[in-house]
Amino acid sequence: MNKIIKQEKLAENLFLLEVEAPQLARKAKAGQFVIVRISEKGERIPLTIADYDLNAGTITLIFQVVGLTTKKMSLLKTGDYLLDLVGPLGEPSEIENYGTVACIGGGVGIAPIYPIARALKKAGNKVISIIGARNKDLLFWKDKMAEVSDELLIATDDGSEGHKGFVTDVLKEVMTKNSLERVWAIGPMIMMKNVAEVTRPEKIKTIVSLNPIMVDGTGMCGACRVSVGEETKFACVDGPEFDGHQVDFNLAMRRAAFYKDKEKLALEHYNCQCGGGSCKCQ
């Protein structure tokens, strides 16, 4: 049981939880994730660690409401508890002084890119960050990102803030002016795929963080299999970060969609609250 010491709504359907977990906070490194379960009948879901505070003994999780579990999680308040929290899982990001690097966060992916940018900055890199969202209301942590970046660039689909268009447009621009040694991209699968396509011709090593369906998160089930350079990897123990030029994104997207219909059913069941009545959610 881990106590929620802060709950915040960052934007529509976007929430932050700061949770008491002293040992986890001590061990967490940029790039790692946790698995959360919120009720006895709940499922186990992976969430990337957005921040960790050694002194406070807390970690911060940011999530978007997409299915039933995140919906239920969005109803938790300060003072409530997470039933189960396990981590830090996965391999940490490879942090070194590479020179000039770009950190790209799209949507909820801004959260996990933050500790990576911070660590890269601390290691001496020149960090150029690009964050993007559909519109300006969905952007968050601009100030935190600015603090750990030498340059912070913004893109929104509708142009309500920063560049009108995609983070990839901004990245292309950045690439004309800088010689990037490495790129990190975290966000929707399609964004990561497109970033990898932009950097591929220039052979700039591009790290993406995959978030496939998981169950245990410890290498026990293989639900999280992804194909990287024609080889099958378990994202929870071999990743979650992989070389974006080697990832089979199409496979990853198909696998991520496998339970979509079931997720819809779960939400319907939850919303109808029939309590075992006669609706079709039976």
Binding site: T69, V215, A223, R225, A257, K262
Partner: protein, 464 residues
């Protein structure tokens, strides 16, 4: 010579009915049947059955108490050697252990030792809350990694000797394979929970959601957290795949995922639980061990119309317990033998629809003594399926070894440990169960936990 009486059959749920539910298949003896069965025991002077039991349960002694109706006494005798009798009575491969050695089995049927063990353990659980005599603390702290049968047994025995024991478990529930792997219909989770509560009553502390190698390393446990010794019982949790084309299509599960979703996460009750599982009409389970039988029978209960066991060798080589194979057949699982998939094909959404298979014939015996399957060239054919479960074995989970560089491993990644003591290349660190032997049995894991507990006790007493 007493008149030869036949073995008393196990009352079971009807196959037609049980394949629709997840309730336990074998219902257990009642008192009269148990006593009748116990009376068949000859009370041998030199009981061979005991040699067949990896933890040396005093079999004739407990059976004698069953005959006399002293079930409580019988339970105490078993629990002297076996901390988890209700589990062993249900899942031990008795036909190759205690019952295999039973003298009655030479000419007829052996005493149903497993069924009696189960009866006694279940009787005790219902009738009494067993008293636990408090023991004096030794002031020594032991960390046990993994709450499977090996870890739980080791922890229980060490607590009985007065050591302060903490079990670290990666999942949210202790029990290991007993909770996430073996299905409810074979081993009810309430039984496992009851046995774990007993271990906790002995004074063992169980910390769930704690992955060793991530949250703490073994060195941190010993140097910073004050543990005097460590036992590693992390099991064989890493599922193998075949590395053939199409294996990552949707609908292809490892047995671990398939069974974990169903058992641990309760997916059979979705959407009343939150974890889904998808089972199509035709399910192919690759492999023929206990894990495969469990998956094939689970598939039927989840609504599959056809459930196949697909196995490279023939019936004689199937490694599953005989009873499990029989139960699977009774429930309608079909066996496709001397066949193995070489490729999977899918539709435009990436869901598996077909399996290309090859036929095999048996050649010379291999290292395991089983006849080696040899592919028949040109024998390829396609099989329509929509769900596949890979049950071809599991390897050691690498998280602990990877974070403990001074731990010696075999080529396959298993921890090297002395079979008698469990001691490893690292002082103060012991290991046992599937992480050492590779995937084996509950009772062997328990036996290893027991031996290690004795060795750890010696280590702690001599090192102070």
């Amino acid at each position: 010579m007493p008149v030869k009486k036949p073995r008393n059959p196990m009352p079971s749920q009807d196959p037609k009915e049980r394949k629709q539910n997840f309730r336990e298949v074998a219902l257990g003896y009642d008192e009269q049947t148990a006593q009748r069965e116990a009376e068949r025991c000859l009370q041998c002077k030199n009981p061979l059955c005991k040699q067949g039991c990896p933890v040396e349960v005093d079999i004739p002694e407990f059976i004698k108490e069953v005959v006399a109706g002293n079930f409580q006494k019988a339970a105490e005798i078993i629990k002297n050697k076996n901390n988890l009798p209700a589990i062993c009575g249900r899942v031990c491969p008795q036909e190759s252990q205690c019952e295999y050695k039973c003298i009655l089995g030479k000419k007829g049927e052996p005493v149903a030792i497993g069924r009696l063990e189960r009866f006694v353990a279940d009787w005790e659980a219902q009738k009494v809350t067993s008293e636990i005599n408090p023991v004096e603390s030794t002031g020594k702290k032991v960390a046990v990694i993994g709450a499977g049968p090996a870890g739980l047994t080791c922890a229980g025995d060490l607590a009985k000797l007065g050591h302060e024991v903490t079990v670290f478990e990666a999942l949210h529930t202790p029990g290991g394979v007993l909770m996430y792997g073996i299905p409810e219909f074979r081993l009810p989770k309430a039984v496992v929970k009851r046995e774990i509560e007993y271990i906790e009553k002995l004074g063992v502390k169980i910390l769930t959601n704690t992955v060793i190698g991530k949250m703490y390393t073994i060195d941190e446990l010993m140097k910073e957290e004050g543990f005097d010794a460590v036992f590693i019982g992390t099991g064989a949790g890493l599922p193998y795949f075949m590395n053939i084309p199409g294996e990552n299509l949707n609908g292809i599960y490892s047995a671990n995922e398939f069974l974990t979703r169903t058992n641990l996460m309760g997916a059979y009750d979705f959407p009343h639980t939150d974890t889904p599982i998808k089972v199509g009409k035709k399910v192919a389970v690759i492999g023929a061990g206990n894990v495969a039988m469990d998956a094939a029978r689970t598939a039927l209960r989840l609504g599959a119309e056809e459930s196949y066991i697909v196995y490279r060798r023939s019936r004689a080589e199937m490694p599953a317990r005989r009873e499990e194979i029989e139960h699977a057949e009774e429930e309608g699982v079909k066996f496709h033998l001397l066949i193995s998939p070489i490729e999977f094909k899918g539709d435009e959404n990436g869901n598996v629809t077909k399996m290309v298979c090859q036929r095999f014939e048996l050649g010379e015996p291999d290292a395991s003594g089983r006849r080696k399957p040899v592919a028949i060239p040109g024998s390829e054919f396609e099989m329509e399926i929509d769900t596949v479960v890979m049950a071809i074995g599991q390897g050691p989970n690498p998280l602990v070894p990877a974070s403990t560089p001074d731990l010696e491993l075999t080529k396959k990644g298993n921890i090297i440990a002395d079979p008698e003591t469990g001691s490893t290349s690292k002082p103060g660190v012991f290991a046992g169960g599937d992480i050492v032997t590779g995937a084996a049995t509950v009772i062997l894991a328990m036996g290893a936990g027991k031996k290690a507990a004795r060795a750890i006790h010696d280590y702690l007493t001599n090192n102070s």
